[in-house]
């Protein structure tokens, strides 16, 4: 069978599966819509969390980023998995015991204040919208490259699918679809990795393979370091970022991860506190499989790519080279007119520009794997993007229908009315996300970093202090969150968007990049919260009692309004 048939077949089967699951698991009540009725098993929740969490960024972009940045790419690996330890140990069990539907719910109740709730809703919406736009773009990318439709048509098809099962099924539909999506995406990620690992090193386990030797008995990583030196790049295993910056970026990603509302909300779907702990464990185990494979793929892809293109005749390039050229994500400019491709670190002599995002998608083609494997990767990338998009849409719709309408604007809304509002806001959210997917703002990458920074600078300290200190009051938490967000916004606007006269790398405070500044803003948030709470009245007795209560796991009850 040819490639196109394979792709249509695999993508078609997986989409039919998702829609089938959505019809089977329709949500009938707000509780089913927001938290799947609170009766999901820890294993299923672990699988769903893994799919929810691993987005188009993890599946499509991450291995490519590591491939180009080598050691510096470790910030994503450690940052995005290390955050799970914080989530499992410091947040998930207590938030589950607290038993609410959303993160703004926790902030609003723990800090007995609608101002705190509003700040939290604002952050949740901002984080989720930035993210979801990136996912829709990922869907569009896969469609345009593999299904040969226009990128806008691709985004619209993706919107319809997500709309269908997120609006119909709510959290219940999303949960079981995500279980299926995890299976699809992990299979799609592992199969080419195993194939290529055997091809290059003879070892079927990619995690070991990339520390192995090639056919000539040279260690693969040594060979890649050598290639990098020859072409003028920083050594693959050393990287070029400053140690301090690596430290701060890793911390910002970890804390940002732990503060992401669409991940936190998944722990509200299980029955009891011990199940919340367990599902965090399962989730990281399932995530680990992909995250330890990604650096192996990065090394294989990088070596294969350099060896295939560098100093080779342009006219002898394989098919994949021209297909990617057509998408504009790969371009060749023969500066010295010798008909050969020179791939070099020196930008004045380099003739090949490759978008980092294509490495995972092009990898099986570069390695010459069979058609069905390439088709599988397309289906896997779609599963990754759609599952995360659906999770984020749910957070957006819950923030609007539950936190804004039910809790603030119209508290006497009926259950049916709230469900309608939830579905309507999901529809609006999909349309907005689709709009940004079709017309991506130039600053998508920058705003994604901003989203992490904001989550780190706002939510994380407020939640941690809310659980681990009884004396933290609304004055402390609100001023901490606001100052944290403003610092982060200021730093991003100054150094990413060139506001306030802009600034270059040399002007960074203490040499910390905007990506790593979330850590600084978070520390400031902690300090401000603690200092202010010392000078303002203690929280009411009932609130202190709530804090004592969430520390004890028994009698968690079910998630309630």
């Amino acid at each position: 069978m040819d490639l196109q048939t394979w792709i249509w077949l695999l993508v078609g089967i997986t989409f039919a599966l998702y829609i089938g699951i959505a019809i089977w698991s329709r949500a009938g009540s707000t509780k089913e819509f927001y938290v799947a009725g609170g009766g999901v098993s820890p294993l299923a929740n672990g699988l769903a969390t893994a799919a929810d969490w691993m987005s188009a960024a993890s599946f499509i972009s991450m291995a490519g980023l590591i491939s180009f940045n080598g050691y510096d790419g470790s910030v994503y690996l450690m940052g995005w998995t290390g955050g799970y330890v914080l989530l499992a140990l410091l947040l998930a069990p207590y938030l589950r015991k607290f038993g609410k539907f959303t993160v703004p719910d926790f902030i609003g109740d723990r800090y007995y204040s609608n101002v705190a709730r509003t700040v939290a809703v604002f952050c949740a919406l901002l984080v989720s919208f930035t993210y979801v736009a990136g996912q829709m773009r990922g869907v569009g990318l896969v469609f345009s490259r593999f299904l040969e439709v226009d990128i806008n048509t691709g985004v619209i098809i993706g919107m319809i699918i997500v709309l269908f099962y997120a609006v119909l099924g709510g959290m219940k539909g999303i949960t079981y679809t995500q279980v299926a999506q995890y299976c699809v995406l992990i299979f799609a990620f592992m199969v080419p990795a195993i194939f290529i690992s055997i091809q290059i090193t003879g070892n079927p386990i990619p995690q070991l393979g990339f520390g192995g030797q090639d056919a000539n008995g040279i260690y693969l990583l040594d060979k890649l370091d050598g290639l990098h030196r020859d072409l003028g790049f920083a050594e693959y295993t050393s990287g070029s970022k400053s140690k301090l910056d690596v430290f701060f970026i890793t911390a910002a990603l970890m804390v940002g991860t732990a503060g992401l509302p669409h991940v936190i909300v998944r722990f509200f779907t299980v029955k009891k506190v011990s199940d919340a702990r367990k599902s965090a464990g399962w989730a990281l185990l399932f995530i680990m499989i992909l995250y330890t494979t990604a650096p192996a793929i990065a090394v294989f892809a990088r070596t294969n790519m350099i060896e295939t293109v560098n100093n080779q005749e342009y006219k002898n390039m394989p098919d994949w080279f021209t297909t990617w050229e057509e998408t504009g994500l790969l371009s060749f400019n023969d500066k010295n007119n010798d008909g050969k491709i020179q791939y070099l670190a020196d930008t004045s002599k380099n003739e090949l520009i490759i978008d980092k995002d294509i490495m995972v998608l092009a990898n099986p083609e570069i390695a010459g794997l069979p058609n069905w494997v390439i088709a599988l990767v397309a289906a896997g990338a779609l599963a990754a993007a759609l599952s995360t998009a659906a999770g984020l849409l749910l957070v957006i719709s819950a923030s609007v229908s539950h936190d804004l309408i039910k809790k603030m604007i119209k508290p006497d809304i009926s259950e049916k009315g709230e469900l309608v509002a939830a579905r309507l806001s999901a529809v609006v959210a999909v349309c907005v996300a689709g709009y940004f997917g079709i017309n991506p703002p130039d600053f998508v990458a920058a705003t994604v970093a901003l989203a992490f920074g904001l989550a780190a600078a706002s939510f994380f300290p407020a939640i941690i202090l809310g659980i681990f200190t009884k004396k933290m009051n609304k004055e402390g938490a609100i001023s901490g969150m606001i100052i944290g967000i403003l610092m982060m916004l200021f730093y991003m606007l100054k150094f990413k968007f060139d506001w306030f006269g802009g600034g270059t790398k040399e002007d960074w405070w203490f040499g910390i990049s905007p990506e790593g500044f979330g850590t600084v803003a978070m520390i400031i948030n902690f300090i401000v919260s603690i200092v202010i709470s010392k000078f303002t009245p203690d929280p009411p007795k009932e609130v202190q009692e709530i804090v004592a209560n969430i520390r004890i796991p028994s009698g968690a009850g079910e998630a309630t309004h």
């Binding site: 470790s74 998995t81 330890v85 520390g211 192995g212 990583l221 520390r551 796991p553 028994s554």
Partner: protein
């Protein structure tokens, strides 16, 4: 739900905090310690084709993270049992 004595609540929470401190110390050492701060020193040691610091940053830390969560689950389940909280 059974009512838990105030003193037991305190003890339960203290033990929990002790576990958290130990586990998060290990969490810090494998990622920030081995993967970032001491990466150059560890890179002088080799494990097959891997430089050790690089391995910790891209592989080892993630394995340890996963183990840490499962150890935490085990410890807390035992603690819950001791205080009859495993409903």
């Amino acid at each position: 739900m059974k009512k838990m004595k105030k003193s037991d609540q305190k003890k339960y929470w203290k033990t929990n905090l002790k576990y958290l401190t130990v586990l998060l110390t290990i969490w810090f050492i494998v990622s920030y310690g081995c993967g970032i701060i001491f990466v150059d020193e560890l890179n002088t040691i080799r494990m097959g084709g891997f430089k050790l610091g690089f391995w910790f940053a891209q592989q080892g830390s993630i394995y340890v993270f996963t183990i840490l969560i499962f150890v935490y689950i085990k410890l807390m389940n035992k603690l819950d049992k001791k205080y009859n909280l495993d409903s």
